[in-house]
Every structure is written in C-alpha cells, then in structure tokens.
Symmetry: C2
C-alpha cells in the first residue's frame, strides 16, 4: 500500500520505518522538499522509502497519516492540500500538547473540541480516524513491547475507514481484540484528553513503554 | 473510623453503605438537616450510619469524602466549613461533569486546572487526595466486580494523606499493587480528564463495570 506520512519527527520516522519494513511504499512529507531528516530517513530506510513536501506525500498516499503535533496539524494539512486528501483515509495520531505554559504541557484544544474533529470539519471529504495517540511511538509499532492484551481506540465517522485502520494496525501486530471502536469522531476528545493521565503515568512509572488494558466485569 | 460523606446521591449512598458495613461510623451530609434521602439511607444502613448537614458531617468525620459533583463541590465544601476540614484527609472523588451543553457532558474545569486543585487552593489546611473518580461507584466498593488487577490513582501534595487513603482503599478490597501514586495534586487533571474516555468506553462496551489496568513493558 502507498502511505503518506506527514512529519519528520520521531513519530513519523518510527512509524514510517515500520510501515516500509512491512512492504508498504512510504513517502515522508515535510514543510520543504529538501528536509534533511526526511532525506536521511529515506536513505537509511531503503527502497520502500521516499520523501517530499507535505503535498507530495499526501498526493502519493492511498492512506495519509498525520504524525505532526496537534498544535500544527491543521496548518500541515492545509499545506498538504484538500485535493490530495479527498476520499482518503486520514489517520490522525496527533496530540495537541502545548508547552508554552511550561510543564506539564496543557492541550491547545480539549473538552468541547478535539484536533481530530477540527481536521474532519476542515477536510470534510477526508475520512478521518483518530487512533494511536494514546501510546508512545515505540509501542505503536511494537505492541508486544508492553505485556498482555492492551488496547487501542478508534474514533471516526466513517465505518469503512475504521475497518481499513484496523487492518493497518493489525499489520503492525495489534491483535483484533485489542482494538476498541469508541464511536464517531467526537469520541476523539476522550483519546486526546487521556494524555495528561498518560504523562503522569510516565512520570510515576519512569517509562514510556506503557499502555492501558480495559477490563470489563460481567 | 469516623467518616463524613458529603452528598446523598448514588455515589454517597453506595460508598457510605460500604464504609459503614466495614465498621466505620459514617455520617452523611446534605444541604439541609432533614434530607429525606439521607434519613432513609441512615435508617436502612443501621447503627453505624447517621446524617446531618454538610457541616455536621465534616465536623463528625476524621476523614471527609466529597461525593458531590465537581460542579458544586466548592460550594458544598464552603457549606461544610473550613474549620471542619482543617488538618483532615479530604478525599475528592468528584467529576466536574457539565450537562448544560447537552450530551456528551463536558467538564466545567479541565486542562489548566482541576476540581481537586481548586479545593486544595480554597482549603489549604485540608489534606486533599484525588482518587476513585475514574470508576463507577459499584466498582469503587467492589473492585473484584471487574476481573484481574486494575488500577486506581492517587493525586495529592501530602504523602501521609495518600498513605491514609491507601489504607482506606485497601479496606474496601483494593489490592496494594492496584494503587498508583501519580504525584502532587496537579496530577488530578489527568484523572479528571480521563472521564470523556471512560464515558466513551461505557457507551462502546455497554456497561459501567469497567476499569483500566496499566501495563508496563521492560
């Protein structure tokens, strides 16, 4: 599958490398065509990897994955271009972490809205699914780095888009039973607002290699 | 132990009943001395149960538990009186769910503040600990109603207060290993902001008998 990965940070590079290793053709997009991090990533990742602008990557991908921060995601997607996102599965795994108030970060959008909802409103012809933002990128690409059955969540208005997302997650090692469909895109608020708890857990437990398992009584 | 339970709703009644059954003397506080729900609860619960105003219950308790909504918690505690909370462990298990915008509820405070922080600031001589708000009251008093080891969280600035809270939770059946100290009272934001995810999970899974287990990799 052709996948456009937007963002050259550790999340984009980690996810891009894994997706390329699984046999997908991956183009990493960045603000400028000659981005050094993207070029280095493409060279070291090999034949399945290439790089270009945000618009190049979005046009290339049958699926587009937003790996930029939630604080800049809308601007990045505007640069990618609505015409390059039309009809496509757009996976948003961003968190709107705002460090401008100091530590701990706050969220630049929360409670009555979410980044995923903003994206879906701004690009109504894209099929937005929120997922993966509740785990560190090392866990995203290697779910067995955390023991036991633990969960990911899906939020999105398009049922078919969520099925396509499930298949992509399963290709990375996520078990079918680990993926919980929360409902429409509005439920992305819960995924994004989980981040402060995740950050506190990381602080208390001293590792980013954590995830939650939802336990259900009879 | 003498425990003041503030609030006559299902949370206060469920927790009060369990604490009385464990041998504690429990006074349920409400806005008015003759509250019918509190009187009925006290009568049906037996010798360990009594009722009074918020101030009566706070004065009575060696420990005070806020079981009112986070939206009214500050007003309730003002009615209880700072002099009746001074030096005491004040367990806050409230969620600031605001239904005025329709469903799903939003939070009346979040992101840059939390109910627990507001309470600690307003009552600096109380020793506030946030816990239990991440589970339904049936799970609070019967952790084995959800299978496996699943977690509760503690947030508070007073280490001794968190130890006292641990002991109270353990008396209700929470295993020592299930209780995670997140840090200071600021980390209550994470516990409170988890609620939208909990609400989505309840909707997706069709039950309130749920909780999360934090899984940690090596």
């Amino acid at each position: 599958m052709k996948i456009g990965v937007l963002g050259t940070g550790v999340v984009g590079r980690t996810l891009g490398t894994r997706l390329a290793a699984l046999g997908n053709e991956v183009m990493m997009g960045s603000r400028t065509a000659g981005n050094a991090a993207a070029a280095e990533w493409a060279q070291s990742t090999g034949a399945n990897a290439r790089h270009g602008t945000f618009a190049d990557a979005a046009a290339f991908g049958e699926v587009v994955v937003n790996c930029t921060s939630g604080v800049v995601a809308l601007a990045v997607l505007q640069a990618a271009g609505a015409e390059n996102l039309r009809g496509k599965l757009l996976i948003d795994l961003s968190n709107p972490l705002d460090f401008s108030r100091g530590m701990p970060p706050t969220l630049s959008v929360s409670n009555t809205d979410s980044v995923a909802e903003q994206i879906q409103r701004a690009f109504p012809e894209a099929r937005v699914v929120k997922t993966l933002n509740t785990v560190n990128c090392e866990v995203m690409v290697a779910p067995d780095s955390v023991p036991g059955l633990h969960n990911l969540f899906l939020s999105g208005d398009d049922a078919q888009a969520k099925e396509e997302t499930r298949r992509l997650l399963q290709s990375m090692g996520w078990l079918p039973a680990s993926i919980i469909d929360l409902g429409g895109i509005l439920t992305a608020r819960g995924q994004e607002m989980y981040l402060p708890l995740w950050l506190s857990l990381r602080g208390a437990l001293g590792t980013s290699r954590i995830n939650i398992a939802v336990m259900v009584g009879q």
